[in-house]
């Protein structure tokens, strides 16, 4: 299990989702991905994408105009 980060700042919906989707495709079950975005829409869209694809959002929050989402990758 490893921890990775993804910078999706200054991209707008759906690019943060696409970047997350493409990054997760490279990861293994149990890995954790921390995604940082500036589009507040990501706070809804990335968890929705995770629900559809079975990945687990461990935490999501807004901080200083940024959205941070922690995802545990499913198998």
């Amino acid at each position: 299990m490893s921890k990775y980060s993804l910078d999706a700042r200054r991209t707008l919906c759906p690019m943060p989702v696409i970047k997350t989707q493409n990054k997760i495709a490279e990861l293994s079950e149990g890995d954790v991905l921390e995604v940082t975005c500036t589009d507040p829409g990501a706070l809804n869209d990335i968890p929705a994408w995770c629900r559809i694809n079975g990945h687990i959002v461990e935490e999501s929050f807004e901080k200083d105009d940024e959205v941070i989402i922690l995802i545990r990758v499913a198998g």
């Binding site: 200054r10 707008l12 919906c13 759906p14 690019m15 507040p40 809804n44 929705a48 994408w49 559809i52």
Partner: protein, 347 residues
Amino acid sequence: MSTQRKAVALISGGLDSLLAARLMIDQGIHVEGINFYTGFCVEGHTHAIRKKDKAKPKRNNALWSAEQLGIKLHIIDIIDEYKDVLINPKHGYGANMNPCLDCKIFMVSKARQWMEENDFDFIITGEVMGQRPMSQRKDLLPVVVRESGADDLLLRPLCARNLAATLPEREGWVNREQLKNFSGRNRKPQMALAKEFGFEDYATPAGGCCFLTDKNYSDKLVDLWQARNKKDYELDDIMLLKVGRHLRPQPHYKIIVSREDGENKFLQGYKKQFATLEIKSHNGPLSLLDGELSDEDIRQASRIAARFSQGRDAEKVSVLYTSKDGKEQMIEIPPMPVSEIRQEWYI
């Protein structure tokens, strides 16, 4: 036991593709969604940028549709490949810069490629015969089938009974009798079917899901191409066409003036790519300058930017000009009176 057949559904986020996919799921087909991002999709962008829109709920309708259906959704970035569709549409443009028929052909051909790579059996779309003037005309539906290379693996569940049977119907993977025969612009049959399935709160975008069908947006795109003397763009170019007031006071430069705080923040991200103007003596917009500007142009642009600040009635306003390479110059100028801002400058 027969093999469960697999269909890839083009999911736009609208009602029709939602219903088409649901009809297939109800027939026991394994459906996964595919959604293409061209850079011109209306989804989310302006909500994300404009502060006044932030109170509205934000959602990506394609993801919402997939969640309602309980299917996977694959969102695919086709920004670069889509340039050729927009710049050289074989079948031309619609009322604005929308190459709807070429766009549909391209997306179905991409779906066919995805189908082959992922070992799926056929493609479904939410097209309804006669619903749209360009891409869904009765005589043009076969053009999509032919030119996309999908041939009889393209099934349109909402209007299939008006069309020749496709391979999934002929082979009995799908029961044709349970498909629909919708046609024309009347939305009542779709709304009734949505009610039957229990779908509520589905998306009903007034101007469609693509900025290219919008006249104002299309005008800005044409202006960009004319000013650069070539039909080309990068993602940042087309994003910026969605933000701010765009004025072209001279053929060789354009000024993009933010309209509110959210746009101000968004434009901040472009400060290294463009020369900028910031109002320092009053609250006011951040402006980007696109083109090569002389000192006189910079003064003219500064007066325009000041006009949109809270110092619009002041004798003088302080404007900070920053060149692309970071050199700063403070300019004290009187704001341009509204009577001097020509209507034809607005793009």
